[in-house]
Symmetry: D2
Subunit: 289 residues, 4 copies
């Protein structure tokens, strides 16, 4: 009999991920804070639960993917939370990006209830989520990962087992630090050439022929050149993740000077943004007022 999956959080990432689970034949029960977002999933065959608890009760594996630590606390805890619904021996997978410390606390809460837990944040963006080509960064027991492999493989192409609970989140924060600094580097370099009268497009062409080229820069460079910042990966989330990375660095005595500098640029732009923007919008830092 097929593993029953509860899916909690139907945002930009959760929606395509849960659709891919349905396509792969898993029975899926969904829950979302804003109920309207469950409709496309119901149309595709998902059951709609009235609470995170009910989604978990109907499932062998519950997956959460929400925007930040308070949102995770609210879907897991309390009388209507997912932890109250999972049976002993059940499995919770959290694909949100939160701190390793919070992942370890959730793991401890699960252990007290006899529930298994994997922290399994993702990289690959909405495009990867839609294509089922996400990369999962997983912390927890290797045998539990193996048990859940078919569920993961319905959503992603690469599973990395990185260590104990918290290790998935640690690597996720490090990955987003790299992505954020790569985009910062591109934006600084584009501002530098523009300030000297050289068109940014020229720099992008050279970059793409060089050792510096990176898929994320291929994707973000056109946004910066055209000043179009419809959110793919929202600035506010990248800003939050840099905050988590710096918090982790400061708790562990790891100095992160360039990340700290870049985060204040993210902060500068986010603080004056009037709408939701992609994180490539840090390019606005260099627009003259």
């Amino acid at each position: 009999m097929s593993t029953r999956v509860g899916f909690i959080g139907l945002g930009l990432m959760g929606r395509p991920m849960s659709l891919n689970l349905l396509k792969a034949g898993f029975p899926v029960t969904v829950w979302n804070r804003t109920r309207a977002r469950t409709e496309p999933l119901a149309a595709a065959g998902a059951t709609v639960a009235a609470s995170p608890r009910e989604a978990a009760e109907r499932s062998d594996v519950a997956i959460t993917i929400v925007s930040d630590p308070p949102a995770l606390d609210s879907v897991l805890g309390g009388a209507e939370g997912a932890l109250a619904g999972l049976k002993r021996g059940g499995l919770l997978i959290d694909s949100s990006t939160v701190s390793p410390a919070l992942a370890r606390r959730v793991a401890a809460d699960c252990a007290q209830r006899g529930i298994e837990f994997l922290d399994a944040p993702v990289t690959g963006g909405t495009w990867g989520a839609e294509k089922g080509e996400l990369v999962f960064m997983i912390g927890g027991k290797a045998e539990i990962l193996e048990r859940a492999r078919p569920v993961f493989e319905a959503m992603g192409k690469r599973l990395f087992h990185l260590g104990e609970n918290g290790a998935g989140q640690t690597v996720k924060l490090a990955m987003n630090l790299i992505l954020a600094l790569e985009v910062q580097a591109l934006c600084e370099a584009l501002a530098l050439v523009a300030g000297s009268g050289v068109p940014g497009q020229k720099l992008v062409e050279v970059m793409q022929a060089s050792m510096a080229r990176a898929p994320v820069l291929d994707v973000k460079a056109p946004l910066v050149l055209e000043h179009k910042f419809a959110p793919s990966f929202p600035l506010r989330l990248m800003h939050k993740d840099m905050g988590l990375a710096l918090e982790l660095g400061n708790q562990t005595g790891v100095s992160l000077p360039a990340a700290a500098a870049a985060r204040e640029v993210y902060n500068f732009v986010l603080g004056s943004a009037k709408e939701d923007l992609d994180y490539a919008a840090i390019a606005k830092y260099w627009q003259r007022h």
Copy 2:
């Protein structure tokens, strides 16, 4: 009759570049401050000049590639400098990395003597120089670039015409800013995961499966993981180039916060280095004392 080339500066880059010119059939006259370095070139068929001036006198095109602005001044100026040797209508190509302002000053000196000038720094490293796969970033007149195209194509695979004199250097400094920040990002991220007890190798595997992957990170990650920093692109030169990029930014009113932060890390490590290191050695910043 084939264009005669004078080649001044036989360092890590200049040696393979001049060898490729010889292989392509150009008559080449070489000069180097340390004469011993001319021997492999002489063995390969090059004429050895006694001064930059003589190398230029024997040539239609003189190419310079030296380590910094004072070195460039010393091979170009004075009674024995290359400018004194080039004939009216000759061409000087400078592939050193210097400031755009210096490139424009050299262009003005050349113009006074009826000499054409292209600033044409390169990217691709010693590997690209050996394979003849360098990328040239070129500032100057387009028609002069076309005249010199066969010479360039003996050394590189891609020629980018970026604007007037100085534009080549501007883009080169921007490119090195990106490379330096990419390596800084990798090193910060590796320190972050190591500080939390996750092996760096795990992060590298995830990175290589992600949108963040970049050829420069594939090359530098193993050096950082193994703490082996034999210089391919020396730390002292990347530190110098970041200084030139920041100087340009400060002259043009372009604020570069992450580059400024990273440069102080480069400075920190260079300041306590006891030997010549690759720029990936900034990882030493996170080694506990």
Copy 3:
């Protein structure tokens, strides 16, 4: 009849502050996590309580001064916490340094119980605490401050009413940001002259004759020159406060580039410190390994 004061937290600051209350004639009941620290207070006439709740029950005004947000939560909340002990119409004064958001949350908890609240962190160091010359930065209702004025004046010479609850903590974090950057500035400048072979003492003499002189620099300069870092204001607390200031800046969209850079230096030194040090110990960042 004299206002009865409950004093919770007898650390470097709390001990002299509560002694000054006793000297001014207030009946004082003290509590401290480590009971041994209550002995000098008992000897001076204080009653020793068995819990924060008991200290509050015996008092009209309860004052807390502990090291960080979790410590504050632990002395305020729960069955044995101070909030359970204060009567309706009583007053809680918190002189810890925490976030403005936490101060507002404590204020809301107090309001629900009919308790008045002032956030009232201090500046002036242990010296100011001993002399009764602390400066209080106070958020909350002006009339409540007036009611508590005699209590404050037993401990400090200056009371600043800065706005509603949270305003005291906001100004405290801003003050510590200034102090931390002033000491960072001095240490960078001392490293700069030492690196050029000029004795640091010379710079200190010039500084003290200049517009840059500041009492905090007069106090810290000798520590840096003599490399003696016995903690007066501990590095770990200043590092924590910079984290709170940066968190506040990032929540309100206020970019703090120099504070962010300095905090990573504080982090660098704290991360490799083997003992408790004064924050002037950031000078260790420049000691060659």
Copy 4:
């Protein structure tokens, strides 16, 4: 017979300094690039020279105070420069702010001509210059300083002998680094409290009652609060001096993270400034666009 003084450079600082020399009874010959500026000095009894050379020829001691290294080169070198006018055994005092390396080069040029040299930059601002209360930071031979003491004391109240040639400039750059970071700290702190709805004036009052108070902050705080930035010490000169400090740090392997971060804020504001502003105008960084 009184020492004859040649005074070259009649800007914001040079004018009151040369007037004080006249008041003290020294025969003074002045020169300035813009001749109109010599008029008030002529009215006060100075002789006006047609070139730096002539000012030096008529003098035992020549004093230069100009805005940057190229300006210094132009008044010292060449056929009409001051070096050509000073006699063997004469003394050159440079009170400009330049790099220690340039000070040592000027010292070497002087030595070749048998001229003594002191680098003697000042701190104290236009106010100190007018009152004759400047602080001189002096590099060079102690006995030469003693010979020139009466000249210095006509302009300043404190003379610090700091070491060999270059040491004056080294300490001056370090002093300006401290001043620039103190003002940066104040501006970050003011932006932080304003972002939380607390009036900046409140923070200034607390600061002035605290260990953080400094004369420079007393002077600059009102400018920031009132957004009035008429230049006393111009932003462009402080930005230049921070560049010189960072250049020195990067040449000597001394990492200056907060100075580097602050300089990019100075750069940000200077780059978009449309008029000459005081360096307190970095507060514009936090004005929302």
